[in-house]
Subunit: 373 residues, 2 copies
């Protein structure tokens, strides 16, 4: 990450951006505008990666934004707004950099020790920020005219539909619950089938219920049981307890609640039939972040000007844009991910698609410069 | 265990049994018979326990058998056959003592280190046996006229039906498989429901299939999925792989195979529908051990003489009798377990039921002494 940050700052300087690192460790390259007192149009993404991740999630948007600045400089194009290219730090570990900018970062998070062996606070220092001066990295509403992020889709829709550009309608909201199922552990040899209170049988029916409810309601919501632990967990013991995770995502937080309540209602009958009890504990919420309709239209226009096909779609994954949505209207541009693969060394996007994305980013920026104050 | 073994040997001596410990560490108390050259009628069980187990699983049959010998001595009853009371060592850890007697113990098992911190071989030495002379503990067909074991049911049937005595039809056979389900791990936010190859959804349908198949076929077979592990196991990742255990038990090994094949056939359609693949690997077989019909009838008669109700039933759990079934006709007598609870400190059987069991054991022994050569 440290080496990549030096590389990126060199690229920014080549693109005639003036480079600073804020107190949160975000790298910001700025190009002044012609009109006085207009807030900046911000282009951003990240360059950090999950362990054993790929080279496209983050870098496409970060290097694409620098390339846009390079083009403006090469062609001596003067925009009204200042342009800021933000490379946010630690997106994958919890959007630390962009959440510091939006004021969402909880100071208690600074003490969390990550897989790196460093705390989040120490990490900010190592990256050139200053955790004691975090407030100085914070921006207010009005400080940013609009925010644009180019990113790989991380899903397979664009490739499957042979669409060049995804116009993101918003970043989905997420709710997660821990579901505890209590039956009765007993001897698998001496307990007849009819006398069992098998927590895993109930869990199996719950997993099926989640799939049935999520797929039977119109819309693009997704529901996932990704974690499941069985206790006591021996081949010859009827499971007495199961703990599992339930995650529901949608652009509409009320839709998430509706899906959850439908699942929970169906669970009552299931619990009765299997002789178990269910407990739900919500442990995570990420609010949905809709994109701005004017920006979506500008992206549509930019794609059309470039003879590229485009499709409105939600972002199922989280992005730095979600943080900046608290400060400014946001827009996101997706390009196809080959095979929909992400967070893997096999993550790949075709060079032509990366080029398309950077071009749409540039054209959208120019249109927003005219449209926004 | 060591203290209990001293206590039990003292009880045997009080019952006028001559006590030896064989090379496998089994304690054997012998009372001679009146007819020359008849093989022994053996009564047996164990006194070892699972960790945090109860005081009835094993001791009821072991102390019941010593009490029978005590009664014969007290009333100076001379039987034709010699009587041997066997307290087998390490039943719970794999029927080590009784399997040494039947010749099933694999010498490689002696090197296995158990939770005690000792190997099975060292344990035999610690208990007073000699692992280098194991062959001397082995018996052949014809060495035992018949084998009788009194035991707690470890299930709730007798108590629920208010029956005094269970006449065991046999000890169920067991087969166990490891089932590996391979789908494709993917991002829970960016992968639409229709594009998923969710190994846990397939596993859930498999658990439901096991329950449906096992309960839809006539008979008393049981099928259990007791272990299940999900990979990668994160709330925001669609499970790519699940490993689970399948166990099927029945008195009839062919029935076990039929149930398994029915499940496996149903799995094909399930695999296709969810886009996953299934692999089955059998890792454990325990052959069913039917009891001898003459002995069952003798137990029926003994119960009737004592004005006790009785019921024919399978044993879902394994017992030392299973090993001795390779050498001699076997019979087993069950008494009620309160609440069907076993392998728990709450394991309990009423004193009157323990007394009933010992009385049925005595009366059956006397009947067998007359009937068998």
């Amino acid at each position: 990450d440290l080496a990549a940050r030096v590389f990126v700052q060199d690229l920014m300087q080549s693109a005639q951006l003036s480079v600073t690192v804020d107190a949160a460790g975000n790298i910001i390259g700025r190009r002044e505008g012609t009109a006085s007192d207009l807030p900046a149009l911000m282009l951003g993404s990240h360059i950090d990666s999950v362990p054993h991740g790929g080279n496209f999630d983050g870098p496409v948007g970060s290097l694409g934004a620098i390339e846009v600045a390079h083009s403006l400089a090469d062609h001596d194009i003067a925009l009204r707004h200042p342009i800021e290219v933000a490379v946010f730090q630690n997106e994958e570990g919890g959007k630390t950099g962009s959440r510091a900018m939006s004021g969402e970062l909880d100071l208690a998070e600074l003490d969390l020790v990550t897989h790196s062996g460093h705390s989040i606070g120490d990490g900010i220092g190592i990256l050139g920020g200053d955790p004691r001066r975090l407030e100085t990295a914070r921006k207010q509403k009005g400080d940013i005219a609009a925010y644009l992020e180019l990113h790989v889709e991380q899903g397979g829709l664009l490739e499957a539909e042979r669409i060049d550009i995804g116009v993101v309608e918003g970043i989905v909201g997420i709710k997660r619950w821990t579901v505890s199922i209590s039956g009765f552990a007993n001897h698998a040899g001496t307990t007849p089938m009819t006398d069992r209170r098998d927590a895993l049988l109930a869990a199996a029916r719950f997993v099926e219920t989640v799939n049935r409810v999520v797929t039977s309601i119109d819309g693009r919501q997704v529901g996932t049981v990704g974690q499941l632990e069985v206790s006591p967990g021996a081949p010859n013991v009827i499971p007495g307890h199961v703990t599992l995770s339930l995650e529901i995502r949608d652009l509409d937080m009320e839709k998430i609640d509706f899906v959850f309540e439908t699942i929970r209602t169906d669970t009552d009958a299931l619990a009765k039939a299997t002789g178990v009890s269910f407990e739900f504990e919500q442990f995570y919420v990420s609010r949905a972040a809709p994109t701005d309709e004017r920006i979506r239209s500008s992206i549509d226009d930019a794609a059309a000007q470039l003879d590229l096909s485009s499709l409105r779609m939600p972002s199922g994954a989280g992005h730095d844009a979600q943080s900046i949505a608290l400060l400014a209207p946001i827009g996101m541009i997706f390009i196809p991910s080959v095979g929909g693969i992400s967070h893997s060394p096999e993550e790949f996007s075709q060079p032509q698609d990366v080029t398309n994305g950077a071009n749409v980013l540039l054209h959208t920026l120019v249109e927003l410069d005219a449209a926004f104050d």
